[in-house]
Symmetry: C2
């Protein structure tokens, strides 16, 4: 018997993966959580029926949400991640030699537990001495900090359920206050093919708050449409002004100095969304 | 009743699209041909169970297989396409002001017929006076021409069935001879995530024949993994040496001067395939 997991990515399109086993399913306080083994992408974490991360392609998302900002900021010592309970962004952050502390604020402790148990390749850095893991509401945490972080990454789920507030202008204003005077934020902002309105709205909101706002792209096979966007708000540093020789050297599978620049080369239909 | 079209893109992963109707199915001399209406991507052409093109995302593939070479060559007067019976590459080629003649050599006349009937937005240029449409074997056509074309685009189906010979080193040598002394070839070369071996092999083969060989990428939602590669072999001109101000201006939805450069910024795991 062949077993396939099918995710409806929109009402009208889906991805379907052959699976070998379902390792874990759970209804947490916040969402439905599942861990399954797929043949194409390896082990996969699914929240509320949406693929969050897989062993085979997680490197793209986790490197790209992290290293662009880490290499734009000249001294990214104090970095935080909202969401991202799988630990992948944290794993990338502590690769950067300048980072002294990385704080993870995840609202759903069960995501952290499941990731540590079933996805150790991704969650491996959560016990690092530089890492502070907090099971808290990210919106509340941000509101309680001022002039504190160098970089804040919004590593959220899709803008439904617990993550809706992470796509709001009020939240971006709160992030602005929680950042130091030269701080940078990056948020994952969905697919240019399927979420055009969301990208336009978020870019406009962040542009109204931060002096420098930039959108960049990466290719992630298990995410809807395969093309994903990230929106950066920066108080001082422009990611396009970074010199190639200033990009820190550490092992990555997707990110490099050429990708740092190339990811900002937007196709016309994407650039149109930002006008 | 909901109807869904599911394509197994590999043995272990597929894309599934809600459809409203099947407009046409046919067994041609060379392959199974279908035209269906999908809700997410609009009308879709399917050959041997593989999505070839859709109304909503065809612009990416057709612009990117064409304009990178057209803007690398300073005088692309005589351009040919092997395969590409839907006419999308031809439509893009004749946008370039320098092109005097565009030749389409498609082995399966039924693809041209179905595209003209069901996909007029894509096939619209096939009756242009600059365009010469030939229902012939592309391999034979190339073998019969020498020092003739400025640009040859290999707009093939997947490397199974009738297209196998279009991925062979002998064919690339034949293309080299059919090109003028400063000619350029571009071939579609599948997904870096799913077809790593093919990309490595083709890049090595083309590098052994052409002095300049470059791989570039584009994001195409309906193609396996969503990330697609194109391999360019060039006798004289380097696509990375093109000056932004020399890129011809005409309407496109994906390609632009920034994308021309950014598409060559290869993630590490892709660059590794070319070593």
């Amino acid at each position: 018997m062949e077993l396939w997991y099918t995710e409806k990515q929109t009402e009208n399109v889906g991805i379907t993966c052959k699976i070998t086993q379902t390792l874990h399913t759970e209804k947490t306080e916040f969402q439905d959580l599942a861990v399954i083994d797929t043949l194409q992408f390896g082990r996969m974490l699914v929240l509320d029926g949406m693929v969050q991360t897989t062993i085979k392609d997680e490197f793209v998302y986790h490197e790209m949400i992290s290293h662009v900002a880490l290499n734009t900021h000249p001294n990214p010592a104090n970095v935080m991640v909202i969401g991202g309970g799988d630990g992948g962004a944290i794993r990338e952050i502590i690769k950067h030699p300048g980072v002294q502390k990385a704080t993870l604020v995840e609202i759903d402790g069960k995501v952290i537990e499941a990731s540590k148990k079933y996805l150790p390749e991704i969650a491996c850095a959560l016990d690092d001495p530089k890492v502070d893991v907090r099971v808290e509401d990210g919106i509340k945490h941000i509101a309680e900090h001022e002039n504190h972080y160098d970089i804040i990454l919004v590593d959220s789920t899709e803008p439904v359920g617990p993550a809706v507030g992470l796509f709001a202008a009020d939240f971006y204003r709160s992030i602005y206050r929680a950042l130091k005077e030269d701080g940078i934020m990056v948020a994952q902002t969905e697919s240019p093919f399927f979420n055009a309105d969301l990208i336009s709205r978020v870019f406009k909101d962040i542009s109204a708050i931060f002096p420098i706002t930039r959108l960049y792209l990466a290719s992630i096979p298990t995410y809807p449409s395969g093309l994903w966007s990230f929106t950066m708000g920066s108080k001082k540093y422009d990611p396009l002004a970074v010199k190639e020789e200033d990009i820190a050297q550490y092992p990555t599978k997707y990110y490099n100095a050429a990708v740092h620049k190339g990811a900002f080369a937007l196709p016309n239909f994407v650039a149109e969304l930002l006008k």
